[in-house]
């Protein structure tokens, strides 16, 4: 029982004439799978995530998510589609510095629909931050900030989670905490796309796609489970 959730067709993105960060990529991903994306720096990993995450529009080609051709949507429609379907986890966490951990999560609720504080507190408890609700980002460790970011990504219950180097700024111990969380989310049925430079992390998923110069150079199913 595999259901396609994301399909990219002849996807091309170019910023200027010479660089083609994404060059004619056609690929699809199934619901509930964890896809890792690896590749050298500048190979187009982040660009690809931006496109799937409705943060950017391709130059050519189409993207279907859950049957919707998002490449046909306008700016505001994209925004609304994103907040319903996609959660984003960033290497730099991007917490709003003047808001507390809880408020950062509440903000995502606010822009999505309505604010429900107990739900937001639950989300933070799930990532193990029940005791850090009133702290501003400056008073949280990197790992804690990343967990706030994850709680924020999850609060609106998106099907798809996109993570760009989520452990890139974390030490091993904190990185493991975050990866454990992501694994749990995978088990809960979220579709995960994770960009990483670390081959060990790359192997954690169900599938590993390697990008070189904007093209898919290898696409491997991973069977070994930890």
């Amino acid at each position: 029982m595999t259901k396609e959730i994301i399909r990219l067709t002849n996807l091309t993105k170019l910023y200027d004439k010479d660089t083609r960060p994404i060059n004619n990529v056609t690929v699809s991903m199934i619901k509930g799978a964890w896809t890792s994306i690896m590749g050298p720096s500048g190979s187009g990993k982040t660009t690809l995530l931006n496109l799937i995450g409705c943060l950017d529009s391709p130059t050519k080609g189409t993207i279907h998510i859950n049957g919707t051709e998002i490449t046909k949507l306008n700016r505001d429609q994209l925004t609304r589609f994103r907040r319903e379907n996609i959660g984003l986890i960033f290497q730099q966490y991007h917490l709003v510095p003047y808001l507390t951990a809880l408020e950062n999560v509440l903000m995502a609720q606010y822009y999505h629909s309505i604010v429900d504080e107990s739900e937001a507190i639950d989300a933070l408890k799930r990532v193990g931050l029940g005791h850090r609700l009133k702290h501003v980002p400056a008073h949280l460790s990197g790992g804690e900030q990343q967990r706030v970011c994850i709680a924020r990504a999850l609060i609106n219950e998106p099907e798809i989670l996109l993570a760009d180097e989520p452990t890139g700024n974390l030490d091993q111990k904190n990185g493991e905490v975050v990866l454990k969380l992501i694994k749990k989310l995978r088990e809960e049925g979220h579709t995960i796309i994770l960009v990483t430079h670390n081959p060990d992390i790359g192997r954690l998923g169900d599938r590993l796609i390697e990008l070189i110069d904007g093209k898919i150079s290898s696409d491997t199913a991973i069977n070994i489970k930890m």
Partner: protein
């Protein structure tokens, strides 16, 4: 939640916001100050207008002498003809009679005061102070038959030390101009002597008359050099019964044509000529208009400066907060929500600036009033909404460009490193 975001985003960037608020304060303060001053001053011009008291002067016709105002150049008055005191009531029988606030006749005579070598000439002016004039044939039957009038009514701005002459039959009191009082060393209650020389077919006839100083007048005008007595005293002294040189008429005339007034009075007293003194006030109004134009320009410049201040702050803020904007968009904020957040910030900056600016401006208005116009300026609550409106408007306007910029921020930047 929105309010929480708004409050925190403002309070965490206090110094930046302060700069914007201060620039709004300055603009709003200057606008408030100049508005208060100009409102007050134009009101005071109305007062000034009344200060001229008479806006019509009635003199005998074909009178070639120059009638200076508010005093009269006495040298050329001696030869002239007169207006009959018994015709004065007719002024109150014109169509616009209810707009005639008051009138006062004046009979001038040079008299001499002081002894021997200190003897000097002074103008004695006989007039009404507080006189009941009988309206012999009222315009309408409903009109009162007695009209109380006098110089006090048409010149309420006179600074009087001591008292006005209240009794219309008082023949011993006088009110002396301050300069006369200084020259003759007169104080309230003093009695002094005036001498009137009459040249009667080559014979000089000297009449001596004693007057008590009831009040000392200060007007900064010709009145300061004159001695005022009841008309009757001046007439008796110079044997010119029923005669006056001129009549000062005070007509309250906002809409009605002063020229019509003049014509009507001439109709009632055919041998008289009524002259308006509107020109004087017009000149004054002109200068005021120019001052107001200038204030308007200064206000515009000040508001432009505020707008620039707000724009700079907002632009910096948008650039600094690009990541935050991108993040808000990535979690689902549409462009209009981003715009709303920034415009709300601008409104708050504008509102605080406007309110504080109003207070500062009111204080500033006092300084301007005292140092430039020599009067205090009444603080006006009705300017608050104006100041607020202008400030918020300016802040919003000045933010429109930075806000456009904020809505243009691409959410894709959140995935890109620095």
């Amino acid at each position: 939640m929105f309010l929480r975001i708004l409050r925190k985003s403002l309070s965490k960037r206090k110094s930046r916001i302060a700069i914007a608020v201060i620039s709004v304060i300055m603009g709003a303060a200057i606008a408030t100050a100049l508005l208060s001053v100009s409102l007050d001053v134009s009101e005071k011009v109305g007062y000034e207008f009344r200060k001229y008291g008479a806006n019509l002067i009635v003199v005998p016709k074909s009178d070639t002498i120059e009638v200076g105002f508010p005093g009269v150049d006495f040298g050329s008055v001696t030869e002239q003809r007169y207006i009959n005191e018994s015709d004065l009531w007719k002024i109150k029988t014109i169509f616009w009679r209810n707009n005639v606030l008051g009138f006062a006749p004046i009979l001038y005579q040079v008299v001499s005061v002081g002894e021997n070598q200190y003897e000097q000439n002074v103008v004695l002016a006989g007039t009404y102070f507080n006189k009941d004039v009988e309206i012999i044939e009222p315009y309408s039957l409903d009109d009162p038959s007695i009209f109380n009038t006098g110089i006090q009514k048409i010149s309420p701005w006179w600074k009087v030390n001591g008292n006005w002459i209240e009794d219309q039959n008082d023949t011993t009191s006088s009110m002396v101009g301050i300069k006369v009082a200084e020259k003759l060393n007169l104080e309230i209650g003093n009695i002094f002597t005036i001498k009137y020389y009459e040249n009667y077919e080559g014979l000089i006839n000297e009449t001596i008359y004693n007057l008590t100083v009831k009040g000392i007048i200060e007007t900064d005008g010709n009145e300061d050099n004159q001695i005022f007595v009841n008309l009757q005293v001046a007439q008796d002294l110079t044997s010119r019964m029923d005669k006056v040189h001129l009549i000062q008429v005070s007509a309250l005339c906002n809409a009605c044509p002063v020229d019509t007034f003049a014509e009507e009075i001439e109709g009632k007293i055919p041998y008289a000529e009524a002259r308006t003194v509107k020109q004087l006030v017009n000149a004054e109004m002109n200068i005021l208009g120019k001052i107001e134009d200038m204030m308007f320009l200064v206000t515009i410049v000040a508001l432009l400066a505020s707008a620039l201040g707000v724009m700079t702050t907002m632009t910096t803020s948008v650039i600094e907060r690009q990541k935050e904007i991108g993040l808000m968009k990535s979690v689902g904020a549409e462009d209009k929500k981003i715009a709303f957040l920034f415009l709300s910030e601008a409104s708050i900056i504008g509102a605080i600036g406007g309110l504080v600016g109003y207070i500062v401006g009111t204080v500033l208005a006092q300084f301007i009033g005292l140092s430039v116009f020599d009067t205090s300026i009444t603080p006006r609550v009705e300017i608050i909404p104006i100041a607020l409106g202008i400030s918020v408007g300016i802040a919003l306007l000045a933010s429109s460009l930075p806000v456009r910029r904020a809505t243009k921020v691409e959410p894709a930047i959140v995935l890109r490193g620095e």
